[in-house]
Point group: C2
Chain length 984, copies 2
């Protein structure tokens, strides 16, 4: 053989070049070194690093961050392999645990076309209605489903989980009674986690919770604002609450019923029983258990209480052509408006899961759902009948829907046999077991249960042989007579093709990250990479019950531990709780931790919370929910906290200071220089610093909340850490704390938990979510992001995010004033452009610019927050320079359109901005009465010619909708009427 | 406890009601019993069954079909569980086998957004260009990638696999030389399967194949039309073919080079070496091995041979506004036009996989691809260097790219050690092993290989320690100097967001089954259910090398066996071959089986094939490829075969009759009554009956090819059996045969195979696909379909498909003549409407109707085939009555639009049909010069107001494009120019 080196093409090879090539950071961070230099130079710096040095205050600048694991970053293939390894450590036993979590078949068509589809999961909350009619319709379907099944006329578009929904209902009762009755009664037949969450939440509201056996409930005190009962009860029993409700009402007590949607296909609904509020979870409607979440909870009530209802509500209105259109209704109820007057802080909810549940109902239809309900009920009846035949245990006699309660000699012994058969039962107490069935249960599985309960005795029958003797046992007075889901949407899409097309029709109306950048300030709409998303729908993560024995979830537990440790490194904290299901829930958990800490030191009086006026609405709303007195703090003309003013406030409240809430970098998009001093002032005055982590995307690897001096911080994993927004949720809001706060982190009444890493001692504050680790199923997303980026990739992400904001600010500053800047004239990872001047010069408001952006194929930035009359732009590291340039081009072009108005060349009332957005129906109408041209309206930029996303409706009329509130699907007849009127 | 029966709501429960509820047939077959009755009545029958009885001739009507397994049908969840069980039986060893199949990382963003996305996989072949600009662009990207990498200016849009691509090139060489030189030389350094396929194929073309060591090749005979060499060779060597090509050309011999795309990122391309044709596989560009396929093969050549090029070619042209637009070019080359003059029968190809490969190249870009190539090359070099250090084996000295050839004492002993380490090597002979690397190989894996080859000797170094000494060993004369993939499309989408958006932009231009029904006669565009699709992308199916030891593929083998048996039941045959990769490949395999059968009986002279003129173009093309003489048979005025004429033809050719090819029901959409007699006539005259199974959707469960009397039949699994069309492939065309033909079913040179179930003896005809079981990866789709439907569901599908065709025919017959019908006036599963009259009355042609349908949101039916001037409509069982009604409404409305022309109320040349389709750019132009209104053009039906799919281009100009042939991406400058010209 010839010598290899004789070939001239030879070139030696470095080991570096032989490392795996499917690296991730370059796919996530969109900026080649050349682009980085180019942009940095454009901004006036000779390198990215010098820009960063000028932007992030030296005093808080970290040295190099080093992750405890995955510091180098895994490749995409390595990540998948690692997740497969974790998945293999989760053991999926058959679960009969129930307690609000049930196996369900996620219809494959829904799995693939919603849950695994970036066209559904990357969207933002549908505040920009004209480019969100698809998911608005889907959420309206959800609301209609809830109102139909509960028999109550108004529903919101989801809450975080059943437990917090109960707590929200408690707050509503308190509210309805104007805060004058301070006792809330909870029947002991509610799920333990529901009770625990309400107890935690009651604390802040200064409500007294009384947990009582149903038969012992009394309202004599006259102080009871409301009562919560469960239907069916946590141990399965179905009770007729008719008389109970009458009695409560007679005593001036509002009734909340926690109920099960599948049961309601067969049972008289809460509304017909007289309940004031119904809450529950839509999980078993085709949303995997996911070891606890995410799932959509619901809350329904009567129109009377609509203004007190927490959460987003979708409503019907009309658009600029008078055609029916949808949008988020009654936004004045939401925390971002009500702030410390709010009684709920909910912001991010569970839109994606609500959409899945609604679609599940659409696919099955009312008949299909009832069939499933009857089948589950029939199987439960079969178990009960068989167990009676068997005689080894005693079946409880109350009527049930899906859960059979069994009395036995030794519950643990039976559960152990079950365990050996890879079956999880619920042990209620040492002589009681419950068995909850669901749509996945089979006759063969019932046979297996007979074996388990036989305790060795031979079983001489099968479920199939017993079944014909079984009878449906819903008490006649509770059999549902009323129809539900009668709207055509629930009766048309029962084949896969029909459903597929309906879903794609909806999807086609929604602008998502699949189309273009969505630079919403404070929302960090970055890439949700596919590799991060893939494990979420693997059965080994999706099909675990949150209360399954912990050793069955070793894969999850290992991930929690790793994630907790990595988050500690990233934030500079000592321990994390993964329980909060959104940023607002994290705020709540964090402030409650602070509260518990003060209490533990005997500082019961510490209840003042200082909050800058620039804070997000959730901050004051949360503080109010924790029973704190809010001291508002103004900002100076540069948008910064006035340190001297803060010092004064802190000192003035020295005795009672509980906390200070601060967002960093500030909600104005600036790294305030004095932040470390600010923290010191608070500490010096006995307070704790709560940092709102919404802007973590500007901190990771450069500084950290812990390093800056914060005591606790939440992370919106759905912002900085890549969980997609899902069109308004899911999210995750874990909180990190310094060592002294770690003992107080939330635990759980069913599966005890606490800080990760675990602190030495623990005095948990209670539970704040229904599941021990919140929405565990979506944690792989953030976990994979961190692991694939490694320290270097993460740090680069922060730098590039800052670079991009500065690049855009620079490109735009000649056209729009940039409102706030740091000491060196740079901005953080986001910035505000000021549109207030145009109100006078051209009659133009931020909304007009946002709507006109739709014509350019873009979603508007954050509107009029934190400063009214402005737009806040956050590009993120994942957007390419080309995309930023297109967005800038659009804004600059719009500025020129405004100039035409200013110059009198365009009409103040009838111009291309006021007319925006322009849907095709308008643009192709035979009659065109606008003073500007169709083409100019439709194709204002060259890139639109090759592909354009079309808004599907003209500008929605918010006022009309709120005046004529309709929050369920219009009956078809009415739709036709409205359409006819509109076109008449 | 109270007695359960005291509750009045009780109702007893049947065992039936307790069976799993996630049944599949009702999701696939769209017709409730009420709808069935309603439609049957509308057609004039009192039940579905009476309609079927009147439609399917009694003489061929089967009793009940009973599948050997899954007869009752699995539920969706049971199916997934079964597939998981099969998956667990496949063992994924690390493959270094090479031979044209390599591990590859499918980028997750491509996996999810193309391969797992019905918006990409449910589309039809892009013949209706105006609603297919997305995948047309993607296929143009593929062609550009192939031309750039091979250095040859023209590429087609994919072929079935590398082996058949070589065979196609062989036919081209023969063709180029006008059939005058009948020898084709194949160098022995080609893959064995490539050689075998060419040998098989040569038979029919009467070409003599000479396999020769490169150094022994001589052209002295003067009879050599072409020569095929491989670059790099199958055992890895890189040779400089420069002189070789010159010599061949000097001898009037055309040179075909089989080459590897990844190697071509570093090696001088075939075009620069002077090759006339380059072929190969694009598999390793991000398409999983899938135990053999599907993958896209390519064929590139010079413009000179464009008319002889097989397969579809995408080209640039202009639309009705003069703007650049894409469409399938030069269709006159295709088999459906050339028929028995064709030298290739290819029809369905590998569009989806070509799109994946092109997108992989886009995502990596030229630099990224080169980096991957260099890395693979470097790892191979590291192995070679380490093995030399080790000294236990001898490394072959020729330069290599990714494959190291090793001489050793006992190849099997080493392979056994490897096997124990879950590693598959290629054993070339008892002293030779090759090791092929790919992008998934890591340094650690090279270390493991050192251990394997060390034969127990301690290894004192690591790959990382050896690497720095390794040199790149491409011979200098073969180092690639020329640039490639310089077009912006290959240089812009390297981050996930950019790629995601590019893919969604393309997707948004394409009409697919996600939008509306695509009732293409003869194509059976039915539901491709998600549950069927899911296993396709599971690693345990996706990542298996087709030549892996068979015991590692037990899951696959079990599925093949089950599938073969079920297909035998369905078709009435005795054995199946799963090798053919499309319908046309099945036809070829089937006729070759017939040929082999006659040969085996000494009937070498039997070479006459009778084919009705109504046959699909692939039929005569295939017969020609098998060296048969075609006798064409006319149909009578009712569209049927004239039995007497057939008898005459058969008797006249009695001595030489080889076969009769027939489609059943006929391509005219009719169950011919005499089919059993026809089969008998053929048999009586010594011929065999080949049935084209394209219309199996009208047979399953009602009759069968075997029962009717056919001897062999192919099944287009991508029609009746739910493999999605993928925008022009993949497909599968397994063939079933009667017992006497089973011994001749194809085998494979690397992994012997044959009929399933296996016949007693076997004399295989050779191989007809590169992989033993063809595109094994997509077989789970058909398998799941059959298993979930069960006999009852399948039979109902056929009935409902027939019902729906009759329903539509009935609704349309008052508006359009329905061309052919059976004896009782019914049609089969499809029907033809006659538009020929409108040519005279209104100047309207089928194309005008098809294009106008786009404005209604629909894809046109099959146009002008099998009868010019008509449309053939096949609704399938999966379309709802509502969807059929919408389609009928559209056609009826278009009929009214035609009437306006007939009445003189619309202009003959300038009307809404001639102007169709109407893209938004036209509809919103400031200037509107059409004599009809914009709204009428855009919204001709009420359902379009809520959601409309927009064609993105005006009608494409086919003639312009073929006159100005451009089959690669236009340089941007030229695009700008053309656009400028167009708008000038
Ligand atoms: C600054 C800030 N804090 C808190 C939140 C609330 O987070 P979540 O929506 O996850 O509840 C947001 C949400 O946008 C925010 O921007
Ligand atoms: C009747 C008929 N035969 C054969 C074929 C060829 O099948 P394939 O495209 O799978 O090669 C077709 C394809 O449309 C067909 O309709
Ligand atoms: O809804 C907000 O993200 O503020």
């Amino acid at each position: 053989p010839r010598n290899l080196s004789q070939f001239m093409g030879s070139r030696s090879i470095s080991v570096e070049a032989l490392k795996p090539s499917d690296t991730f950071p370059r796919r996530h961070n969109s900026a080649t070194p050349e682009e980085q230099s180019k942009m940095a130079e454009f901004v006036g710096y000779n390198s990215l690093d010098s820009l960063i040095d000028a932007t992030v205050p030296k005093s808080i600048r970290l040295g190099k961050m080093a992750l405890p694991i995955f510091d180098e970053g895994l490749t995409e293939a390595q990540m998948i392999a690692h997740m497969q390894d974790l998945a293999s450590k989760n053991k999926i036993f058959k679960s009969y645990i129930g307690m609000g979590y049930y196996n369900t078949f996620v219809p494959s068509v829904i799995l693939r076309n919603i849950m695994e589809n970036p066209g559904w999961y990357t969207q933002y909350t549908p505040y920009q209605a004209e480019v969100a009619q698809g998911r608005l319709e889907s959420l309206l379907n959800f609301q209609t489903m809830i109102t139909d099944l509960t028999g109550l006329p108004m529903s919101n578009a989801s809450l975080l989980d059943e437990g917090t929904a109960a707590a929200e209902a408690m707050a509503m009762c308190n509210n309805i009674q104007k805060g004058k009755k301070k006792t809330f009664v909870i029947a002991s037949n509610c799920h333990p986690q529901t009770i625990d969450i309400c107890q935690t939440r009651a604390d802040g509201f200064d409500i007294k919770v009384v947990v009582s056996d149903l038969k012992d409930i009394d309202y004599k005190s006259g102080d009871v604002c409301g009562v919560l009962v469960q239907y069916p009860g946590t141990e399965g029993e179905i009770l007729d609450y008719g008389e109970f409700v009458k009695n409560a009402h007679a005593n001036g007590v509002k009734v909340v019923m926690a109920s099960d949607l599948l049961a309601l296909t067969m049972l008289k609904p809460p509304g017909e029983l007289g309940a004031d509020i119904a809450i529950g979870s839509a999980q078993r409607f085709g949303v995997p258990m996911g070891y606890g979440g995410p799932h959509a909870a619901f809350l329904a009530t009567s129109q009377e209480y609509k203004r007190m209802m927490p959460g987003r509500i979708i409503g019907v209105t009309i658009d600029s052509s008078g055609k029916p259109a949808l949008r988020v209704a009654m936004q004045t109820r939401e925390q971002h408006i009500r702030r410390d007057k709010a009684t709920s802080n909910i912001c991010t909810a569970q839109a994606l899961l609500a959409n899945m549940a609604a679609t599940y109902a659409i696919y099955h239809g009312p008949e299909g759902l009832k069939t499933i309900g009857q089948r589950v009920h029939g199987l439960a009846g079969t178990l009960a009948a068989g167990l009676k035949k068997l005689g080894t245990v005693e079946v409880q006699g109350l009527p049930f829907f899906d859960t059979v309660k069994v009395k036995c000699g030794d519950a643990k012994a039976i559960a152990d046999v079950a365990y050996k058969n890879e079956i999880n039962l619920r042990i209620v107490d040492k002589n009681t077991i419950t068995v909850s069935f669901d749509e996945t249960t089979t006759l063969e599985e019932v046979d297996k249960l007979f074996e388990v309960f036989a305790c060795g005795k031979p079983v001489t029958f099968t479920a199939a042989s017993v079944a014909p003797e079984v009878e449906n046992v819903i008490p006649s007075g509770l059999v549902r007579g009323s129809p539900y889901l009668t709207h055509p949407i629930f009766n048309s899409y029962h084949t896969e093709h029909e459903l597929l097309r309906y879903l794609h029709r909806l999807q086609s109306k929604d602008l998502s990250l699949c189309h273009s950048m969505i630079p919403l300030g404070s929302c960090t709409m970055k890439l949700n990479a596919t590799t991060e998303m893939m494990p979420v729908t693997w059965p080994a993560f999706a099909n675990l019950h949150p209360f399954a024995p912990i050793e069955q979830a070793s894969g999850y537990q290992e991930m929690f531990k790793n994630l907790g440790e990595m988050l500690c490194t990233i934030t500079g904290f000592d321990s994390f709780s993964l329980q909060p299901n959104a940023g607002a829930a994290g705020e709540y958990a964090g402030l409650m931790v602070i509260r518990a800490y003060h209490m533990s030191r005997g500082d019961h009086h510490r209840n003042v919370c200082i909050i800058p006026v620039s804070a997000h609405g959730t901050n004051p709303a949360t503080a109010a929910m924790c029973g704190m007195k809010i001291v508002a703090l103004g900002t100076d003309s540069k948008g910064n906290i006035n340190v001297e003013q803060l010092r004064k406030a802190a000192e003035a409240n020295k005795e009672n200071l509980a906390a200070f809430m601060v967002t960093y970098p500030s909600t104005h998009g600036v790294y305030e220089e004095g932040i470390d001093e600010i923290c010191k002032i608070i500490h010096d005055n006995g307070g704790q610093v709560y940092m709102d982590g919404a802007n973590m995307n500007a901190q990771v690897g450069l500084t950290s909340p812990g390093f800056i001096g914060a005591d606790v911080c939440h992370l919106n994993l759905h912002k900085t850490f890549c969980i997609p927004h899902g069109g308004g949720g899911p999210g995750m809001g874990p909180i990190g704390v310094k060592k002294h706060l770690a003992p107080f982190l939330p635990s759980h009444p069913v599966v005890p938990t606490g800080g990760i890493p675990a602190p030495d001692e623990s005095q948990p504050l209670g539970s704040i979510s229904a599941a021990p680790w919140g929405s565990a199923l979506i944690l792989p997303i953030s976990y994979a992001y961190i692991a694939m980026m490694g320290s270097k990739g993460l740090t680069e992400a922060s730098k590039v995010a800052i670079l991009k904001a500065n690049y855009m600010a620079k490109r735009l500053e000649k056209h729009y004033p940039v409102l706030f800047r740091g000491v060196n004239g740079t901005v953080a990872h986001e910035f505000i452009i000021d549109l207030r001047g145009f109100k006078n010069t051209a009659g133009i408001e931020p909304e007009d610019v946002a709507k006109r952006l739709m014509d350019y194929g873009f979603h508007g930035p954050t509107m009029s927050w934190p400063v009214p009359g402005t737009l806040m732009i956050e590009p993120t590291e994942s957007e390419s320079k080309a995309e930023l340039d297109r967005y800038c081009d659009a804004l600059i072009s719009i500025r020129e359109e405004i100039a035409l108005i200013e110059n009198g060349k365009a009409d103040v009332h009838n111009n291309v901005l006021k007319g925006a957005p322009h849907p095709p129906s308008l643009l192709m109408a035979d009659v065109w009465t606008k003073p500007y041209s169709r083409e100019y309206a439709a194709y204002p930029a060259p890139w639109l010619k090759t592909a354009k996303f079309w808004p599907t409706t003209g500008r929605v009329d918010n006022v009309y909708g709120d005046r004529n509130l309709v929050c369920t699907l219009l009956p078809v007849s009415q739709m036709a009427e409205e359409a006819a009127e509109a076109t008449a």
